[in-house]
Amino acid sequence: MSETARSATEPGVFAEWLRRSTWVDFILLAIRIGVAALVLVGLAGGLAAGTYSAADFVSFTMFGLTIGSIYALIALGYTMVYGILRMINFAHGDVMMVGSFAGLFAAGGLNDAGVLGAFPLLALPLVLAAGMAAGALVSIAIERIAYRPFLHVRSLAPLICAIGMSFILQYAARGLFGTRNRAYPGFGWMEGTVSFAGLTIPIPQVVAFVAALIVLAGLLAVVRLTRLGKAMRAVAEDRDAAALVGIDVTAVIVATFAIGGAMAGVAGVLYALVFKQITVFMGFFLGVKGFAAAILGGIGNLGGALLGGLVLGLAEALGPALILEGYHLPAPYQLKDVIGYGMLVMILIFRPQGLLGERLAAKRA
């Protein structure tokens, strides 16, 4: 062997890292350290400041879990579609908005028909069903218009079409339903709070959290146990091979969009129950949060969507109090979106496979 081969033997780990690294790696490392320092300093300051009591933190946590479960439901749609098409459904957030409005009108109709008063417990599933149906239908339309025609070409076309669909949904809804905020009708029994182990929690939050878990469990059962679920996993694994063994790929894709849309519809109704008011423009940025949750958990991974949603919800709920408070910023809650979007950007850069990273298609990422 030549001189050089021997002379280059066994450098230290650090020297080896140094040799392989480019200036990009140094900058990324600097960003990592910077962000970590920001968070740690803020955390220390926030804990030291002691503005909030333990009870405050508990209620923040509960709120975080609630909004997190809604993020998780939205994230499911992104994750399922991504798993199968390796594409992001940009209009998914607006599907949620449509579901929310469908729920509103269903609730209004039930109220007029007296069902809401007579059978308050029955009304909630009906309203959820309306939201799911509307979400599924819109989602199917999106698939038909923005994705199916471009299934076999790798290009920007689906992304641009989906952005276009998002605008169509938002502004058509604006024209149809008006620009003002719409108040969701109360379901008598949902007013008030429950006390549990010394905690006081608003009922809608509990309902939203539990409903989200039930729906998620149902979805997991579908994917794990049914023929459709098996076909979906096959198509996600290899679309062409699935087609060759006789799976109707188009139908599976449509079903995926429909289920994702139904989940978004549920999210829309639950969101409205918790926040009481909805607008036609609420979907887009909630959609971005849902996407962040999907990425955070590991896109393509259903359990990851739940985890990502809850982590993101908690971070947004606790972050301002824990971290931003440490910098003595005025009105730290205005900046909760900065935490959410910041997590999105950071996770995309540093761990695009997410917390429970399933195989990430590096080519597409």
Binding site: V24, I27, L28, I31, M87, I88, F90, F105, I145, P149, F150, H152, S155, L156, A157, L159, I160, C161, I163, G164, S166, F167, I168, Q170, Y171, A172, R174, G175, L176, F177, G178, D240, A241, A243, L244, V249, T250, F285, V288, F291, A292, I295, L329, P330, A331, P332, Q334, L335, D337, V338, Y341, G342, L344, V345, M346, L348, I349, P352, R364, A365
Partner: protein, 555 residues
Amino acid sequence: MSFNTVTSSFKVTRRRRSPLMEAVRLGLIAGAALVAFALIGAYSAMDKRAVIEGTVTLSQLASLLIVFAAGHVAARDARSGTSAALLNAVVAGLVAGACLSVLVWLIMAVNLRTTLVAASPALAKALSLGARIASLEALAQLPLIGAASALVGALVGRLPAGAGKAALTGLAAVITAGLFRDVFASMLERLPDLTGPDHEVFGSAGLNPGAAVALFFLAAAFALVRDRLALKRGGVPRSGLSRPGLVLLIAGVVLLPLVTNDFVAQVAMLVALYMLMGMGLNIELGLAGLVDLGFVAFFAVGAYTVALLCSSGPLAIADVSFWVALPVAIVLAAVAGMIFGLPVLRVRGDYLAMATLGLGEIIRVLVLSDALSPYLGGSQGIIEIDHPRLFGWELKSPVALYYLALVLAGVVAFVSLRLQNAKIGRAWLAMREDEDVAQALGIDPVASKLLAYTIGAAFAGAAGAVFAALIGSVYPHSFQLLVSINVLAILVIGGLGSLPGVLVGAIVLIGLPELLREFGEFRYLFYGIALVAMMHVRAEGLWPAAYAKEGVHAS
């Protein structure tokens, strides 16, 4: 590796319907479009604008065109003889009109307004076209009008090619003149009055009927003559724009504000600003293939820099001339671009879209927050920005600022062209085509992407600087995600990677909706439809770049 051919061969072939069923289906589609048009409130809004004075309003025209198109398609798709084709068209028109009749009846019979805000009696009244609201007469006339319009659409399709095209040209001319009455009327005001006061071309709201008829025949005759001449020269009659077309377009852009009023100049100014931004994003997206939905942040950096440096308000940190602030704004925007670019360099495609979107929103939320409002004014913004001065002359009028933006746009176009034909431009294109291969040829992908971000951001910063000087104040509200989407849409509609495409896209998407004020509320809906339609019909854009003849599909 892929089995595309295998999967695509599984495509289900379209079921054959009988011609009549096909006509009914088309009619229903057109009817759904009409109902949607009415229910989103567009009908009522556009009913206020007349295209032909006292005869046809904009919303009526749009409805007629929808049915016209349906009739045209119904007749074209019919394989049998002319009479069967015309029958199909009539059926489609009848069905479409009937859909509207049902809507009118429903509005009056059921209260839909709690759900659908536009379903008001006023809408029913407008759709009853002067007859008693929802009377039998009112309901019956809609299908008949629909049938007539569809029949005309079918007949135009059945005319000999030259005559059909001439008819469409005439129609287009009338519609254009009617829609842009304000622009043309203001131009005519400056010309000597040739027709005399009794024969004005324009009424107070649209074309006068006599003028409309004359214009139709003039334009149709022009189209006929042009085709004949082209045939005589041995060429094929061609549509679309060409090099002389580009020269004309540029001449129009340069001279337009001089011959119209301040309102048009202001619109032209906006178009020029969006051109600046469009050329910036063109570097990122059109050349380097980097989707950027946070683009508006660079625009904001440029605007806020000028605001802070040139304002005489309380938040100003200096009170310098615009000409000092402009380069500072450009440099700061470029630096912002570089910082923005750094973290997102590791992500591609759809992920990049989301990452940049997140970054752009972070900036907007920060500017709006109380935390930064002592420095940037929060939602109150920064006001009292001085106008630029040139040789002691204050650039204050829209026309003056328009020319300022235009000069900047010219410089930016020049720089874009130079870069496009240099090593870095080729590197961008290569990366867009195949990043791995480009890297294997020694192109540093990170450095080239960063440069694309930096230059694109610098262009947007220049646009922001002029914007601040134009408006005289900056608010976070002006820097929403919508601006990024607007710029993206301009590129997509005009043609990715194409500089003339940016010009065309900015005129179509920014200029036209601004001039059609009634349209304003619905412009984003229109954008959405335009983006989707463009991807389906003409993915390469209105004025595609030479190397992207197959457009985004090929990349």
